[in-house]
């Protein structure tokens, strides 16, 4: 099962490597990991996408909680939640017809063209991983020059929140 574990941890040097080290040392999967400071500069928020049986996920959350730098964590998949990922994608766009087609596709997927040259478009796209995958599929394969994905960020729906 795919799980989204959201972790609040001390914004200290080495905290990321403690988490990454834990996953590799114990043989857990990381599909994606994002981390950045929060509105409280002393804390970082990390979102980890992982897969495993219920037993493994239970161990992952316990082992994460055991790290001294981890303040709090929640498995977002236990409740309703929203997840988003951002992608920047650079596409070859030459000729009026091709350029118009890419613009249309970007509109359909609610992407934004954030940079353009006479031969390329760079599009910013936000959504679930599936949506980003679908956009990539929709582009002519040879036309994609570069993709950069942020990894998933997640947050619980409603009034539930992960804070101090």
């Amino acid at each position: 099962m795919r799980h989204i574990i959201s972790v609040l941890l001390e914004n200290e040097a080495g905290a990321l490597s403690r988490v990454a080290g834990l996953f590799s040392a114990r043989g857990y999967n990381i599909e994606s990991l994002t981390v950045a400071p929060t509105e409280d500069a002393s804390l970082s928020r990390m979102t980890i996408i992982t897969r495993g049986s219920d037993e493994i996920i239970e161990q992952i959350t316990k082992q994460l909680n055991k790290l001294v730098d981890v303040v709090k964590l929640v498995d977002l998949t236990e409740g309703t939640h929203i997840e988003r990922e951002m992608m920047l994608i650079k596409i070859q766009a030459v000729g009026g017809e091709q350029r118009a087609e890419i613009q249309r596709m970007a509109d359909i997927f609610r992407g934004r063209i954030i940079d353009a040259t006479d031969a390329t478009f760079t599009i910013e796209l936000t959504g679930t991983g599936d949506k980003l995958d679908a956009f990539i599929q929709a582009m002519a394969q040879g036309a994609i020059m570069e993709t950069v994905r942020s990894g998933v960020s997640g947050i619980a729906r409603g009034s539930r929140s992960l804070g101090l």
Binding site: L9, G14, S17, R18, A25, E55, K62, Q63, V68, V71
Partner: protein, 580 residues
């Protein structure tokens, strides 16, 4: 008061009540060593190799319950200490390791004796710190001691760059008495509902079994465990790490369990209907094949570390908390509820256990002309009145010590259980002897293990530590040889110890007393003579039977009920003749 970094470290250690630090000087810690000079309160023990510093501090911690403290230099000082740190980590031993580091401006430049100590030790510490500013030094040290000694204990590394201890930079110092960390709050009290649920299950048992581990020793919970076990009248087994938590001479004690556990302990595990696991972590050497582990049992598990619960074996009633607090709450619950175990079922269960016990699974050949290692340990037990501190290395001798020395008190049995570190015994004995200067301390070892940290004989001489080294010398890496005999068709690949030193002369060259004992009839006399020498380290080199194996044994992939018994036990008829 204004102090420089080196002085802050020394003053902090004094304020923290640290008696000994185990260390080895080097470039990056010279400022700290200068602050240690000409002061008496914090006694520095100079080891001969940083691994020895780790094990000595570890032995001190195991014998006292107080954190052991290590001071080593950067680079090789830190890497040499890693085995000691990992050993402590696997057995949850509170330790604080101060490693020197190159000055902050050189970090990352591949400077002389630079190593990423925080990175290298990360997987084998409870936590670690790099101190970049002298202002943070005292509070970081306080955090280190706090984290190391609370919750599930463990080693904590504090990496201190040389410029942080610059003698010319003085900052205000005051001892941080209190500390709180928002991200670290170990649970102490067990959930009352779970405790009630557990006690209901426990008293309803027909075939109960209590299985306890190192957590009871670490949590100073022997008294409450003994009280609860006696009130219930249930059989109890200890893991290798838990020996001494319950008196081994008590009839309710059925011996150690696991790979080299007793027949009665392992059979009772396999047949029990309620298993009460306390401060134990279901290690693979304890459980055997998980699929065959306690097939009929409901399991109660008390542990301070939530991640220990349902890690290897799914449990029915988990209780997270300090074992001593939980055990006392269990005793209260038993008193309030007035519930009584099923006396009739218990009687039947005990008669079954006595039947298993009558196999006398630890029997060995007493008629041999060769010294049997088991015999040496039996005599060691007798001569020390069962009250010595016994450290051990790793291998056959370790298992025999665990089987044959009946520990009635906690913190008397000091061995590397989790990591299985050869070389642990002698330096650990140094730490133990320093903690208990007048107590008898013996290091049970073998000719292979002892050579891994033999240089510490020099440390023992320097501080006049009257350790008794019990070297069970069978000219083999005994446990490796045993596995090769059983599983590799007796192809003894590189397990023979060729070109051994003359241990008697070696001990003498360090200034100690050496003895070689070659006949069973001389064992007792030699031990008595050695223990009578109260101010000397005596190295007793027992030349033992090369072919002796540790029994019982559960092979990998087998269950508790599938033990391989000693030849003396496997043939019951001849065994009975021998008894008659």
């Amino acid at each position: 008061m204004e102090l420089n970094g080196g002085e802050i470290i020394v003053q902090f250690l004094k304020d923290e009540g640290v008696e000994y630090i185990f260390g080895y000087p080097g470039g990056a810690v010279l400022h700290i060593y200068d602050a240690l000079f000409e002061q008496e309160e914090v006694k520095h023990i100079l080891v001969r190799h940083e691994q020895g510093a780790g094990h000595a501090a570890d032995g001190y911690a195991r014998a006292t319950g107080k954190p052991g403290v290590v001071l080593v230099t950067s680079g090789p000082g830190a890497t040499n200490a890693v085995t000691g740190i990992a050993t402590a980590y696997m057995d949850s031993i509170p330790m604080v390791i101060i490693t020197g580091q190159v000055s902050t401006q050189f970090i990352g430049s591949d400077a002389f004796q630079e190593v990423d100590a925080v990175g290298i030790t990360r997987p084998c510490v409870k936590h670690n710190f790099l101190v970049k500013d002298v202002h943070d030094l005292a509070i970081t040290l306080k955090k280190a001691f706090y984290v190391a000694s609370t919750g599930r204990p463990g080693p904590v590394v504090v990496d201190v760059p040389k410029n942080v201890t610059d003698p010319n930079v003085r900052v205000p110092y005051s001892y941080p008495k209190e500390i709180s960390m928002r991200s670290y709050n170990p649970v102490v009290k067990g959930h009352p509902g779970q405790i009630k649920k557990a006690m209901d299950l426990i008293v309803s048992a027909k075939r109960p079994m209590i299985y306890t581990g190192g957590g009871v020793v670490l949590g100073n919970a022997s008294e409450s465990l003994t009280e609860l076990t006696r009130q219930l009248g249930y059989p109890i087994t200890n893991t290798l790490m838990g020996l001494g938590a319950y008196p081994a001479t008590d009839p309710q004690f059925v011996g150690m369990l696991g790979m080299h556990g007793t027949y009665e302990a392992n059979m009772a595990m396999h047949e029990c209907d309620v298993l009460i696991a306390i401060g134990a972590r279901f290690d693979d050497r304890v459980t055997g094949d998980i699929e065959k582990f306690c097939p009929d049992a409901k399991i109660v598990h008390v542990d301070i570390d939530p991640s220990s619960i349902s890690k290897n074996v799914r449990v029915d009633v988990p209780i997270v908390g300090d074992v001593n607090v939980v055990l006392n709450d269990m005793l209260k619950e038993l008193k309030t509820s007035g519930a009584k175990p099923d006396a009739q079922a218990l009687k039947a269960w005990w008669s079954q256990i006595e039947q298993w016990r009558s196999k006398q699974c630890l029997r060995y050949d007493h008629t041999s002309k060769l010294i049997k290692p088991q015999y040496v340990l039996e005599k060691l037990y007798e001569i020390t009145g069962g009250d010595a501190y016994i450290t051990s290395d790793v291998g056959q001798h370790q298992m025999w010590a665990a089987q044959f020395y009946k520990f009635d008190k906690p913190r008397r049995w000091i061995n590397s259980g989790g990591l299985g570190t050869m070389g642990f015994g002698l330096p650990a004995a140094i730490g133990v002897q320093l903690a208990h200067l007048d107590a008898p301390v013996a290091c049970v070892t073998g000719e292979a293990s002892i050579q891994m940290c033999i240089q510490e004989l020099s440390t023992a001489m320097q501080y006049m530590l009257p350790i008794k080294v019990i070297n069970l010398n069978n000219r083999y890496m005994g446990m490796v040889r045993q596995w090769q005999e059983f599983f590799y068709d007796s192809r003894y690949s590189h397990s023979y110890m060729d070109a051994l030193p003359d241990f008697v002369k070696l001990a003498e060259s360090y200034g100690h007393v050496g003895m070689r004992i070659e006949a069973p009839g001389d064992v007792e006399g030699a031990l008595k003579e050695a223990f009578a020498m109260k101010d000397r380290l005596v190295f007793l080199d027992f030349i033992t039977d090369q072919a002796e194996n540790v029994y019982p044994m559960i092979q990998a992939g087998k269950g508790h009920h599938e033990m391989h018994l000693a030849p003396e036990c496997a043939a019951p008829q001849s065994a009975e003749r021998e008894l008659a």
